[in-house]
Structures are given as C-alpha cells and as structure tokens.
C-alpha cells in the first residue's frame, strides 16, 4: 500500500526525498512507532501537495523538523507519514531596520541566531535542543526559555505564520509588522500544538536588539525558603531582570558544579542557587549588580557573585538546556513540568518534595520565573518498581488540584510508560473549545492524531 503512496509523493518531491526502507525510517519513530513513509518537501507548495495526497489516501501525518522534541506528548494513534520540513531553510524576509524577520520552518535555531547576531539582534527563544532544533519544531514543541521572565514566551513575539492546514491548503495569519489586528491570530494556536493543527512552513517574528552587556548574578541560599524570599524581593524591586531561575542543590551538583567556565564560581552543591540575568549599558548593569548584592545580603545569601558575559552566556546555555539535561541524566529519567502562581509556589514545592521523598528516586528541581517548575526524577537503572513509584507520585498531584491553581504535565518519560501515566491527565477537562479548534483546522484528524491533550481531540 505504501508503494502507490510513495509513487504519488515521489511525483511531488522527487524520488530522492521519499523513503520507505526500514532503516531510513528508524530515526523518525515517535514513541517507538515508526511511520510507513518519510517525505521531505522543499517548498510550502510541495508540503501542501503532500498533505492533500495524505488526506486523499486517508493517511496520518506527523510533521517534524530536526526531531529533537518528538518525545513530548502521547504516542500517536495513527502515524503513516513523517513529513520532514528541514529542507525549507533560509530567510524569507529580513530587514534589520524593522526588527522583524520572516523565516522558513526548517531553519535551525542556531543558524538563525547567528544571522540575527550579525545584525546585533536576537530572538529570545532560548529553548532546549537549541543547537539542533529548527524554528518550526521549536514553536510546535512550545518549550519555554529562561528569557521568558522579561521577553515572554513565543506568543509574545511571533507575529505571523504560514502553514498547511488540515484541508491541505497553504494558509496564513498575522503578517510581518509588529502591530497587527487583521484577522484571527491563528499563529498563536501553533505554539505548543505538536503539529496537530497544521504544518508550519514559515514564521514571522519580532526581533530584539542585543544589548551592550549581558551579565548575571549567582546567589546561593541555605534553603529553599530563603531562595524564594530573595526571588520575591527581586520581583518587588524596580529591577527587571531577563532571567530569574533557581535550582535545587541536586541540580547544582549535577549540572553546575563542574561545568566549565562555571566551575570557577564554585557553586555550592549543598545550597539552593538563584540565577538572575540582566542586560543593558555598563551603567545599567552596574546598578543591577549593586542592587542584587544588596537584596542578596538582606535575604541572607551564603554567597553571591556577579558574572560577566562569557560566564553569563554559559549559564544561560545550561538553564536553556535544563529540561533536556534532566531527561538525559538517567536511563529512565522523567521530567515533569508544573506551572503555578508565584503566591502558591512555596506550597507547590513543599508538596512536590513530600511526594518525591516518598519515592526513592533522586530528583532535581529548576524553578523558572517564579512560576514554572521542572522536576526531574532520576531513577537508578534496573529498579523494577520505578514505574509504580512514578505513577504514585503522578497520581498524588491530583490532591493539589483545587488547592493550587496548577498546570501539570510530563514533558519527558520513557515511551512505554505513557499509556499508564497519561502525560496530559491534568489538562483542563473542559476541552470542548480545543476540540472545535482542532476540527476547524484539521477536519479529517490527519495531523499528529492522539498526541495532544486528552489523547484524542476528535472523539
């Protein structure tokens, strides 16, 4: 059956870009499930044609970029075609004087960063797998960035998109200007959609100027409460740091202590470490350093130090990659992601710690922007009770609902555990509007079936 499909795809993109051999498809598995066919279009029009063929042939499609974040979400319930968008590279439009850029979906993030840096600009999308991920994949995966504290998430600087919808039509929303209320903001829906609404072909962003100096401030605290008090004081001050991330002693020990060029900071692996990033002119950075030192003293920091550009860049890189680092730190690592209100953060952390303590697995914690908690559980290899304990932990989270306004999901875990854990089990139950949105975008449920919230949006 794949033969006639392959022939149709080959007619569209050429034989060299359609693959059906098992060894070519192995790298395109999603949660262990391999597609029947891989197709690599080189233009939005080709991508649209592929989608139209897939719809006609009633095949399920999962679009992908560099496939760095495919492990997010539930296993697909139908996956016939891997639609790889990495050949759609290049900049579609960039006038640095406008501080906007229009870029094709397959553009690697790292390359985009270099192009922008040449013009002294950047995109505040410092997300995991940065060195390999594509821009289209990064948006579809919806991972966040330490810089969100100041710059917001992609929804705040994605200003337009072009995509192939589930009718096989090349469609768009927004535009290339920074202020625009013409038509529905469909591009916002693509953030974190895991390819379930449309195949992204092009994205338009607002870009930002690189500041003269980017520095950071590292402070360590005896315990979590002191670290939280410092974060709160910083939030109440006049300062507007770009990053406020803090990490547990276990995180510091695993990922910061011996990492060059951070090692020379001798970060205390017994302490909670708070990292604040800031940027601006030298005068502005000096003010930040002074005020942060004062706030740290008032919060009884054990140690505090200002770090300069290269160390600050290294720190940003570690924090950027943190969820990915956690997922690689053990054979069966699980990375949970929680979002809570700053006022309820302490309660959440306390509860998570008590649940985690009842399991045996070492855990590492990163708290981002006083609202996002990444918790990595790192079970020892070969422990057969691991799934049972993780499941117990995950089910315990239910008891927090109602007490704490909370989002909880499992970002990464072994694929074979997903059916039992259900990574989206705490998604809002009133997903009627989400289902309507999916139906409008993808009436035949062609894209990424079963991957997003609820397992199956069209039921």
């Amino acid at each position: 059956m794949a033969t006639s499909l392959a022939a149709r795809f080959e007619k569209t993109v050429g034989a060299a870009h359609v693959k059906t051999a098992a060894d070519s498809l192995a790298g395109y598995r999603v949660d262990g499930i391999a597609p029947a066919i891989l197709v690599q279009p080189e233009s939005p029009e080709q991508a649209a044609e592929i989608v139209r063929i897939a719809i006609e042939e009633q095949r399920g499609v999962i679009p992908c970029g560099a496939r760095t974040a495919m492990q997010i979400g539930m296993p697909p319930s139908r996956y016939d075609v891997a639609l790889e968008m990495t050949r759609l590279t290049g900049i579609a439009h960039y006038d640095p004087g406008d501080l906007t850029i229009s870029v094709n979906a397959g553009m690697p993030l790292a390359e985009l960063a270099r192009i922008l840096a040449d013009q002294n600009q950047f995109l505040p999308l410092a997300v995991p797998f940065f060195e390999r991920a594509t821009i289209g994949g990064a948006i579809a995966a919806g991972l966040d960035s330490p810089l969100r504290h100041f710059y917001g998430t992609a929804r705040d600087f994605l200003i337009g998109a072009e995509f192939v919808d589930g009718a096989g039509a090349l469609t768009k929303s927004g535009g290339r200007v920074v202020k625009n209320v013409t038509g529905y903001d469909f591009h916002k829906l693509l953030n974190g959609s895991l390819g379930s609404l449309a195949v992204i072909t092009r994205l338009n962003f607002r870009t930002f100027p690189l500041q003269q100096s980017r520095r950071g401030f590292v402070a360590s605290f005896e315990n979590q409460a002191a670290a939280l008090a410092f974060v709160k004081a910083l939030g109440d001050s006049a300062l507007t740091p770009t990053i406020i991330d803090f990490v547990s002693p276990e995180f510091a020990e695993l990922f910061l202590e011996e990492r060059s060029p951070i090692a020379s900071l001798r970060i205390d692996p017994q302490a909670w470490t708070v990292y604040s990033g800031f940027e601006g002119s030298n005068g502005v950075c000096d003010r930040y350093a002074r005020d942060l030192a004062r706030l740290a003293r008032m919060a009884s920091a054990k140690n505090a130090v200002t770090i300069l550009d290269s160390q600050a860049a290294a720190m940003l890189e570690i924090l950027r990659e943190a969820p990915a680092l956690m997922s690689r730190a053990a054979g069966q690592a699980i990375v949970f992601r929680f979002a809570a209100l700053p006022s309820q953060l302490a309660d959440l952390l306390r509860a998570l710690r008590s649940f985690a303590n009842s399991s045996w697995a070492p855990s590492v914690v990163l708290v981002r922007s006083a609202s996002i908690v990444y918790l990595g559980m790192l079970p020892r290899d070969g422990d057969e009770s691991t799934l049972k304990q993780v499941s117990y932990f995950w089910n315990s989270v239910r008891s927090l609902r109602g007490r704490i306004e909370l989002h909880a999901s499992i970002l990464f875990c072994p694929a074979e555990w997903k059916p039992e854990l259900n990574v989206w089990q705490y998604a809002p139950s009133n997903d009627d509007l989400q289902r309507r949105t999916k139906k409008a975008f993808d009436p035949g449920d062609t894209f990424a079936r079963g991957r997003l919230v609820g397992g199956n949006l069209i039921s």
Binding site: D95, P96, G97, D98, L99, T100, N120, Q121, G152, R155, D156, D165, A167, A169, T171, K172, S173, G175, V177, V178, K179, N180, V181, T182, G183, Y184, D185, F186, K188, L189, N191, G192, S193, P209, L210, A238, L239, T240, S281, G283, V284, D286, A339, L341, P342, S343, S371, I372, E405, H407, W424, Y426, A427, N430, L433, Q434, T437, K439, A440, F441
Partner: protein
C-alpha cells in the same frame, strides 16, 4: 422586535435594563466609527448568567446579537449590522479581584480601561494597554478588538496582557479559558479569542495582567522642520535598536489645532514633532534620553525638550490623546485611517500619503504611533460636497492599498469590523478565508453573534467604505 421577547427580557433583567423605544435605541446606533446601525433592543445584563439566558433566548428566536462596551470602537465592531439585540456591558463594570502578589486583576467586561489603572496605581501597578480612549473605553471592548495604544510599542497590545477569559458561547453555554497562570496545556484559546472582534463568543470576565510601574519616566518632545526629518529619525531610532516605551508623531499643521485646544506648549510653526517616552530604571532612562536626543539632532531637530515634571508630561500626552477631537476644528468631517507599515518604510510612506492627498486635492493629517509603524492618516473633507467626499473615499482606499503593498497590514489596532471587511481580500486568499470560516462556524455556527463583521460579504469587494451620517449629508447612503 416581538413583544413577548421584550417582556421576557424585562422580567429577567428588570424594565430599566431593557431599552426598546426608538429614541433610546437611537443612542446606540453608532460607535466611534462613521458607520451606523440601529439595534432593535438594548439590554443591560448585570451578570454572566443573565448574558447566557439572553443568548439562549435570542438563539431560540433566531435573533442576531452584538456585544458592546463603551461604543468607542473605530471599526463598527459593536454596531448591530444584522439588527437584533445589543448586549451592553456597561452594568457589568466591577473589578472582582485584585491579586497583588500575582499581579492579576479579575474584571467584568464593562470596567473602563483607565479605572483599572486608577484602582491599582496606589499599589505601584497599572494596566498597560492604553488606547487614546482609555478614559471611556472598556476592557471587554479592548479584548474584543485587541486594542493597542501609544505604549504598546514597548509593552504589547491587549492580547499580551490577558491570561484568562470567561465566555458565553453563541449557544448560551458558559465556559472559561486560561486562568491567572498565563500558561496553557493544549491550544492557546485566549490567543485566538482576544481580537476576534466579538465574532466567536461574548466575553463576560477577564483576567488581566497588571504591570509594575517603572522607576523612572522621561518624556521628550522633539521638534522638526519637516515630516521627512521626523520619520527618518524614527527609522534611525529603530535601526539603532533604541526602544522607547512610546514614540508618537504629529505633523505641524494638525499640531496647531491640537495646541489651540490643549495649550500644552506645542510649537505652531514646525513640520512635525515626535513625542517620545522612555521608562525603566533611572540609569537606563538617562542613557536612552541622551541616545534619543543625539539621533534627533542628527536629523536636524530644531529642539529636543524634556518635560520638566509630571504636569508638563501629562499635558503633552493630553494633547496627543485628544488630538483627533481637536481636529474637528479644521474640517466639517474627517476620517481616521488605521494601517500598519514596516517601520523602515516610514519616510516613503508618509511621502506617499502626502502625494495621495495632493492627487485628490485633500488635506491629510498624520497623528500616529510612529514607533511601531501604525499610521493614522486623517482625511479631512466636507461631506456636503459630494465630489470631495468621493475623493476622500478614493484617497483612503489608495492609502490602505499602498500600506498593504509595501508589506504592511490593514489595521494595527482599530480592528476590521464592518469598516474594512471588504478590504480583507487585499491580505487574505480564499484558502485563508476558508480556514477563518471553519473556525468561525465551529464557534458561532448559527452566525447570530455579531454578523457582517470581519469577513468580506462580497458587496463592493475591495472597496473602502467610508460613510458619514445622514445628518451631514442625506444624499450619502449609510
């Protein structure tokens, strides 16, 4: 309107919350735009449950519905194009909760934008979106239109400041999307609903972000001999990555009318001024003031003044925010356009606007958000002069077309509504509309909610429809 429906709504809401007489309804047939459409009934619910019941009753009897805040919108978004019932949210105007620690406010849709800022400013907080009409427009209206304002240059438009909504769907169902968190699992429904111009759902509660007041603010007035010098300054500021919180431009001759009205000390003999505001910590503000002044001087600014105190600052802003009203002094009628262009094309765009004015023998003023390329060309005309009116229509259309051609957009903050729905074809293809229609019909399957907006109806496709009231000219169809 069927009398039994009127009496059912009267018994639900109380007689004083239902308007049905012709003289009462006449007050609701307009908004801030030049369009008019008279509702058959205006109702004032005081809670979400009533809104739901009104919607259910309307759907049962196949009656169109439109939501309305303060009626300050500039694209006819709140006008009942299909007749029917207007749900006026003026009595749902309570601030339900201010959560200082999490910087959120939970408000009803009828809360006036600036009233929220006033309620929280003693806490060092404010609501960032600041449309010129902020002292009268409502937050519900801001959400529907995704309103902007001068300071959106730095802080973004309404969508960047809304984390949750309570909705009444067009079948009367009450639902919530988002929350205080500003995080979503699944699709970003707030991102879709904010700015959907009341065509997908009625908004009955909003969770808004509150922003922290900056430590320091400085307002500069840069005075130029020519419009070109001013626009080139803006382009250069953007290119040099200087990012003020607001950067507004007013041309010289419109400024005279503004000065006559507010007496803020604006010059009467210049080509244009830029009103630039910088905010942040004191060190950052001081540095930006110097950098901006340098760029202004490099583009032959005659003078760069810094407002010496809050009083002078507020007066300058009053001049900007009341400017369109002041221009009533210059011509019997005017038409404010709203379009966006890439910022690097500001000088050429303003030159083209001026040429279009000359080609059509019309005066066109410019008071706009220069920093984000959001033009508001102001076409002055006398509606009693039929030929002049027709030229005004043609000039307006030529300007909007030009903006889209050079990579811009139809509307930056006023919305599409019934003003520009026929122009949507300049930006969107049949495939784009097909998806928009599928989304629209998933949310609003009967089409009873705010009909005749956003989508082109194919009536005079691609034409600008500027209209004036019959009061001005009975010969002009409305």
């Amino acid at each position: 309107m069927n009398p039994s429906i009127i009496s059912r709504l009267q018994s639900l809401l109380g007689p004083r919350n239902v308007l049905s007489s012709a003289e009462d309804l006449a007050l609701y047939e307009y908004d801030g735009s030049v369009d008019r459409a008279r509702p058959e009934l205006v109702v004032f619910p005081s809670c979400t449950d009533y809104v739901s019941k009104i919607v259910k009753l309307a759907v049962q009897h196949d009656i169109p519905l439109v939501g309305r805040g303060a009626g300050t919108g500039l694209s006819g978004g709140a006008l009942p194009r299909g007749g029917g019932i207007m749900i006026a949210f003026g009595r749902m105007n309570k601030i339900l909760e201010v959560d200082v620690e999490n910087r959120r406010a939970r408000v009803q849709p009828g809360v006036v934008n600036f009233d929220l800022t006033r309620a929280v400013e003693h806490l060092g907080l404010y609501f960032a979106p600041d449309p010129s009409s902020q002292k009268s427009c409502t937050i519900g209206g801001n959400v529907s239109e995704n309103s902007g304002g001068p300071h959106t240059l730095a802080y973004g438009v309404t969508t960047n400041h809304v984390t949750g909504l309570e909705l009444v769907l067009p079948d009367g169902q009450i639902t919530r999307i988002g929350g205080k968190l500003g995080e979503v699992l699944g699709y970003d429904m707030c991102g879709l609903l904010v700015g959907s111009e009341g065509t997908l759902a009625l908004v009955t509660e909003i969770i808004a972000k509150l922003s922290k007041k900056p430590e320091a603010v400085k307002t500069l007035l840069a005075i130029f001999e020519s419009v070109d010098d001013a626009t080139e300054t803006v382009t250069d500021l953007t290119a040099k990555a200087i990012t003020p919180a607001a950067c507004e431009m007013m041309d010289g001759w419109t400024l005279c009318a503004v000065e006559d009205y507010v007496h803020a000390g604006f010059p009467r003999n210049c080509g244009a001024v830029l009103l630039i505001e910088v905010e942040g910590i004191a060190e950052a503000v001081a540095g930006q003031v110097l950098a901006i002044a340098e760029v202004c001087k490099a583009h032959s600014a005659r003078e760069v003044r810094t407002a010496k105190d809050d009083c002078e600052r507020e007066l300058l802003w009053k001049g900007r925010k009341t400017a369109f009203g002041a221009l009533g002094r210059l011509a019997p009628s005017n038409y404010v356009l709203d379009a966006v262009i890439p910022r690097s094309k500001l000088p050429q765009a303003l030159r083209r606007v001026s040429e279009i004015g000359k080609e059509h023998d019309l005066k066109i003023g410019n008071i706009f958000h220069a920093g984000d390329g959001n033009l508001h060309p102001l076409v002055l005309f006398d509606p009693r002069d039929r030929k002049q009116f027709e030229r005004a229509v043609q000039a307006s259309e030529a300007i909007v077309r030009y903006c889209v051609e050079i990579g811009g957009a139809l509307t930056g903050e006023h919305g599409v509504g019934m003003e520009k729905n026929e122009l949507m074809t300049l930006m969107f293809t049949d495939a784009d509309f097909a998806l928009m229609r599928r989304v629209h019909s998933q949310f609003n399957p009967t089409g009873l909610l705010n009909p005749g907006k956003v989508f082109p109806l194919g009536k005079g496709c691609g034409e600008t429809r500027i209209r004036v009231s019959p009061m001005h000219n009975p010969a002009v169809p409305v």
